[in-house]
Amino acid sequence: MAQTGDKANGQGHEERNGIIVVRELHKWFGDFHVLRGISMEIYEGEKMVIFGPSGSGKSTFIRTLNRLEEHQRGDIFVDGIELSADIRNIDAIRSEIGMVFQSFNLFPHLTVIDNITLAPMLVRHLSKDDAGTLAMQYLERVGIPEQAAKYPGQLSGGQQQRVAIARALAMQPKIMMFDEPTSALDPEMIKEVLDVMVELAESGMTMIVVTHEMGFARQVADRMVMFDEGKVVEIGTPKEVLEHPRHERTKQFLAQILT
C-alpha cells in the first residue's frame, strides 16, 4: 500500500479521506480464510477496477462493503459511517451504495418500471408519481425508456443489466459497485452495458468495478487492484498495473487473460 500512496496523492487526493476506508479486513467462511487483511482507501469520484483469479475473494470483498457479507475483523467506513452490526448504520450505508450483480437479479414478478420505483418508494418514501418520473429519467439515461412496461423476462440480457443499473441509480447512491456486470452477457451485448458504465464514470460517480474487461479498465479506471488468495497483490494506475506489473503473480494472470 505504501508504495501506491504517492500515486494517489499525485492525482490530487492528498487532503481528503477516502469515501470508503477499509482497514485490515478479514473474513472467514467457516474455517476458510477468504479475505486476509485487506486495506484500501477509495476516494470520492474515483473509479476502482478490481480483478484477479476466480475464488480470490473479489465478490466477497465488495459484498462486505454493503454488508451482504459480514466481516469478522477489521474496519470499514463508508462516507464516515462505520459499518457495524448496528442496523441503522447498515441501512444508511446501503442507501449510499448501489450494486449491480453479474446475474442482474431483477425482480421477475415486477415490470421494469416497478423494479425501479419499488425501493425509492419504500425506502426513500417517494410518492408513486415522483418515483415514476425519476425511474423514467434513469431509463432514458440507460437508453431503454420504451421497455418500461415490460417484464424482465421479456428483455435481452444487455437490456436487463441496464435496467439493473437504472434501478440502483434511482436510489441516488454516492457509490456504485459492479460485480462482473458483463460476464453473463453474450459478446454483442457487452458493449451496450459498458457504454452506460463509461457514461456514468464520466458523470463523476464513485465506482468500484469487478471486471476482466481490460479495455474498459484502461479507459475509465483511476486505479486497478489485483486480488489473489484474499489479498491485494498489486494496486496502481492502469498504466502501471497493465504495462509494468511488479509482481510475478500479476504478470502470470494478465498473460492468461490477455491472450
Binding site: D91, P108, A119
Partner: protein
Amino acid sequence: MADRASVTGVADVADQVRPPVASTGPLGWVRANLLDTWYNALLTLGVLVALYYLVRGFGGWVLLTAEWAVLTQNLQVLLVGQYPDEEIWRAGAVMLALPFVLGLGWSVWPGFCRRLAISLAVAAPLVAALPVEFASLAAGFRVYLLLNTVLVGAGWLLGRSTVFGSARSVLATWLVLFLGGLVFLRGFAASEALPFVGTKQWGGLMVTLLLSQAGIVISFPLGILFALGRRSSMAFVRVACVAYIEVLRGTPILALLFVTQVLLPLLLPDWMDMDRLTRGLVALILNNSAYMAENVRGGLQSVPSGQLEAARALGMRVHHITARIVLPQALRNVLPAIVGQFIILFKDTAVISLLGLLDFLGTANAILSGRQQWFNAEIEMFLFVAAVYWVFTYAMTSVSRAIERSMSKGVG
C-alpha cells in the same frame, strides 16, 4: 430465412414468412391422430362404440328413468339445511354475495373472473327455465336465480367505476360481505327483524361454502406465517412452528375433529364459548394451515438468494423484502399446490357431518335415509352432489390456471 423466402417466391418480404400451417383441417387431424396405424384405428373404433352405448344408456336414464324429484322436492334443504322457512330470505340474500363479487371482479380480472361471472349469469336463467317444480321454494326460486344474473350485472357496473375497480377493493368487499353475512345469518337473540338462528339449523350447500371460505381465508395466512416462522432466525419461533406443522400434519383430520370438540370447551374461557360448527372449523383450519405452511415453504425455497441480495442492497427492510419480493414469487411458484390445498379443504368440510352437523353431502345422506320415498334415489342424489362439487372445484382449478397464465409473462 432468406433461403426459405426465395424458395417460396417472396424474397422481397422476407420477414413475412409464416411458420408452416400445422393442421390440414379436421379430417387431416383425425387421420393423423386417430387412424395413423391399424391398431390405433381399431382402438378408435372400440372407444367410439363404447361411447355410443354409454351415451345412449346414460342419456336414456337421465331423461326417462331417473327420479329427479328427490332433488326438486328437497332443494331447499340441500341448499340451506333446516334454516327456518320464514327466515330463508336471509340465507338467500347472503348467498347473493357470490354473484355480486364475481361481477365486481369482472373488470379487475378480465381472464378468469369474467369467465366465471358470465358462466353464472348464463347458467342461472337456464336453470330457472328448467321444466321442473321447485317444491317448497316454488316460483320464488326462479326469481331468485334471475336475481343472480342481475347481481352479476350490478357488480359489473360498479366494478367498472374506478373506486371499486381494484383487486384490493374487490377482496375487501368480499370479506365485508362474508363477515357481515355470517352475522346476518346468525341474527340476534333480542331482535324482532333478525331473530337468532343457531348454527345447528344451518346446513346444506350454504354450510359447505361458508366453511370453505372461512377455512381458506384463515388457514392461508396462517400457513404463510408458519412457513415464514419456520425460517425465522429466532430459535423459539422456529421450533414452535416446526412443532405445529409436524404435529398437525401427523394427526388425522378426524382425530382433530374430536379433539377440538372435547378440548376447546375446556381450554377456552367461558365467554369464548364456541358452537359445534366453529369447533369443526377450527379443526379444519388446524389441519389445513399445517399443509398450507408446507406448500408455502416449498415456494419460499424456490426464490433464488440473488433476489434477497438485490433487495437488501437497495436498502429495503426485511418486512418489505418478505412482502414485496419473496412472498409474491414464492406463492406464484407453488400456486397449483396452494389451490390444490383449497380444493382439499373444500371437500374435507364434509367431515363435519360426523359431529351431527349437516353440510352438503351430509344433508344429501340425511335426505336419502330420512324417508322411504327416497330410499332408491341414491344415484340421482349422488350424481347431483358430485356435479355440484365438481363445478366448484373446476372453477377453482380454472382460476388457478388463469392466474398462472397471466403471471407467466413475468417469467423468462
